[in-house]
Amino acid sequence: MAVNYAVLKKGGFMRQKQKNNFSLRLRVVGGNLTAVQLSKIAEVADKFGEGYVHLTSRQSVEIPFIKVDDIDDVKNALAKGDVEPGVCGPRVRTITACQGEAICPSGCIDTYALAKELDDRYFAKELPHKFKFGITGCQNNCLKAEENDVGIKGGIKVSWKESDCIGCGVCEKACRQGAITISDGKVSVDNSKCNFCGRCYKACPTEAWDTVHGYIVSFGGLFGNQINKGETVIPFVEDKETLLRICDAAIKFFEKNAKPSERFKFTIDRVGKEIFEKEILEAYNE
């Protein structure tokens, strides 16, 4: 029977140079794997591969040298450790994320919870071409949000809470954007300079700030044969429901307009930035 490479690729089996050998990509969400999963992956790599794994550039794991005849056995073995194959080809790919606010002192949002939610909503959804989501917890951008078709960056929108302020002056210096000035004991924030990094709030001894933890969203990033930094076309997104509406709108736009093998950026350019921005703004304002 002929080997159907497209079906295998869709199921995460990447054809190798070596005939009848496949590198099996696994489903990983937000860069986390449990000890149980890791142990099963190790066992499968040892038994069916060549005793090693490859960590991909987008937080997945591949087990190289899986033989075509072992594919079903490998899938069954992995399932026993809660491990599923990933995907390749024209669909929504691994949702990547940094550790975010659950772990990292700099984090502004719960990146892993959001990655899980996006994974449940979109993972492996068929589209005209690959489509990547990346989630980073703060302005440090460890996860490089703007490389992705849709990049999500956590941020904190602040407003000064005078009643709790002790006037220490730390926030003015903690701000790297020069957005904060203090005069006569009054703190003022220049919103045109604020980048939502949250450093003022995190440095403040009394946390004298009202805060909204939200999202900065970029569209059309890619970092392969062509390179483009995703662009932010909407203001700071203050709640998750709005964020999800925006993600839905972006995917819908791509699904409706993209030609086969056309990345999101080029669809936006061909159809027209104004048209795209109008649709995204509608989702933002809904």
Binding site: P105, I166, G167, C168, G169, V170, K173, A174, R176, R199, K202, A203, C204, P205
Partner: protein, 81 residues
Amino acid sequence: MSDFKIDDSVDITDVVCPTTFVKAKVALEELDDGQILSIKLNDGEPVQNVPRSIKEEGHQILKLLDNGDGTYELIVKKVGD
């Protein structure tokens, strides 16, 4: 210099990150609960980051004073023994 009764002071302008924080932390360890330390630190990264690190250690920041020469005094009240 300030309205606070300073119990001890430390100059961390002669070291760079992360030693800045370490030096401040060691100085705080020498103090008793409630005593006040004045930390002299440089503009730039130290003044951006050291106050937050000290807050995360659980101490209480009272004031940041600008010396006007590119250095600052951070006034910290020790919390805990």
